[in-house]
Symmetry: C2
Subunit: 109 residues, 2 copies
Amino acid sequence: MIQVIETEWSQAEEKIAREVFDKAYEREISALIKQVQQQSNQITELEHLWNLHDFLSARRHEIDGKYDYRDSSLVFVFALLLKEGWLHVDELAGLTSDKRAKIVALSRM
Amino acid sequence: MIQVIETEWSQAEEKIAREVFDKAYEREISALIKQVQQQSNQITELEHLWNLHDFLSARRHEIDGKYDYRDSSLVFVFALLLKEGWLHVDELAGLTSDKRAKIVALSRM
């Protein structure tokens, strides 16, 4: 059975959600920038350049797909970001305990 | 009138052409690697990362299209590489004077 996710967010929750979302994005991109800088400084062979390009293409595609800010998908997005370590559970304080519980439960799947 | 380009290459010319072609490619990619390293080390904003990706995508597309090793297009490829400075005219010594003249003439267009 597919669990139906409550999609009602109060204005206060919306504000928190947006902040958490942006912060996670910033963290993930900052980490990616460091990785790209490291990888690009280690290029010694011509073909490594295209490896770097392939890597960036794949990461961009993945990140574009992941950061989908819609009320209906936000619980899933936060669960994934929690699982991957881009947000901390205490940053979700301020959301209803119901939503937090769902996010945490989904993040462990 | 479209000038018909002679497409007969002796074995000795083929060998020279391949070497010159590979050398030009190596030079262009090496320069691009330096540029990418520089650009990636200067990233200060999140969005610069995607600018770098866009830049790499465009350059790769351009380079893939340019380095077209077929006898029928080689004179044009060499003309372009000469124009852009990725090969030197004296590296073409060993090709028939007719081919060299065509390459040089095309490179000035």
